[in-house]
């Protein structure tokens, strides 16, 4: 099995709710994780809006899928990269986003940050390392 593990990267560039891309991405990400692939998530451009804290979709009568992101750690999705430039352009900081973590079983389930703030150059290098890049 282990030789069949590929590095999958999901690149999220759309805001949530206005289109179905963000939700569809999350569904596909969870499927990939269920097949025990090596999953990395990238949020850039309007994709950074997907992780903004404090969403309440009641009035807009849409499903609030933002809470699902906090479960990603339980699916062993521990590598989430945020483009700093995209945050800056939108007047946002990491404090405006959900705090996503995972528990490391090799270190007595120590809680660790899943989110890494990176620049465009680092993102480019990250994408070069992948076997498969899926864009949403």
């Amino acid at each position: 099995m282990s030789q069949n593990v590929k590095k999958f990267c999901y690149v999220n560039r759309k805001a949530p709710y206005g289109t179905i891309y963000a939700w569809e991405s999350l569904e596909v990400v969870l499927i990939g994780a269920a097949f025990e692939q090596d999953v990395t998530l990238v949020f850039m451009d309007d994709g950074v809006f997907q992780l903004v804290k404090g969403m309440n979709t009641k009035g807009a009568a849409m499903k609030d899928f933002s809470k699902t992101y906090s479960a990603l750690g339980d699916y062993d999705i521990t590598k989430i990269y945020i483009d700093k430039e995209s945050l800056d352009e939108r007047g946002l900081t990491l404090d405006d986003l959900q705090h996503l973590t995972w528990e490391d079983e090799n270190e007595d389930w120590a809680e660790k940050d899943s989110i890494h703030l990176v620049d465009r150059k680092a993102l480019g290098a990250l994408l070069e390392e992948q076997d498969v890049v899926l864009s949403f």
Binding site: Y17, A60, R90
Partner: protein, 95 residues
């Protein structure tokens, strides 16, 4: 007078810019759906002397932006949306 409706993020589309550069001063601009992300851009502050801005409350709430609405934007609910449409002669949606 025209009611302009913008439903696209100003960071991902030129809809808001096209609306603002085309519309007559004094027009109204209603931000709905992803258009409410304009709350985070500088465009509203730059142009608020020319336009009357509104934003739909439920779309702000859905996106976690309720506390980030800049001065000069009136937050309205769905019945306020209906009133705006009724009170304007024409509506243009910048899809």
């Amino acid at each position: 007078m025209m009611l302009n409706i913008v439903n696209k993020s100003p960071f991902a589309s030129n809809s808001l810019d096209s609306c603002l550069s085309t519309s007559a001063p004094g027009s109204s601009v209603l931000l709905i759906e992803d258009g409410v992300y304009a709350a985070l851009s500088g465009r509203i502050a730059e142009t608020q002397s020319d336009f009357t801005y509104y934003a739909l409350e439920s779309d702000l709430q859905a996106r976690g932006l309720e506390g980030r609405v800049p001065d000069g934007v009136e937050v309205i609910d769905y019945s306020g949306f209906v009133d705006l449409v009724a009170d304007h002669d024409r509506v243009q949606s910048w899809l």
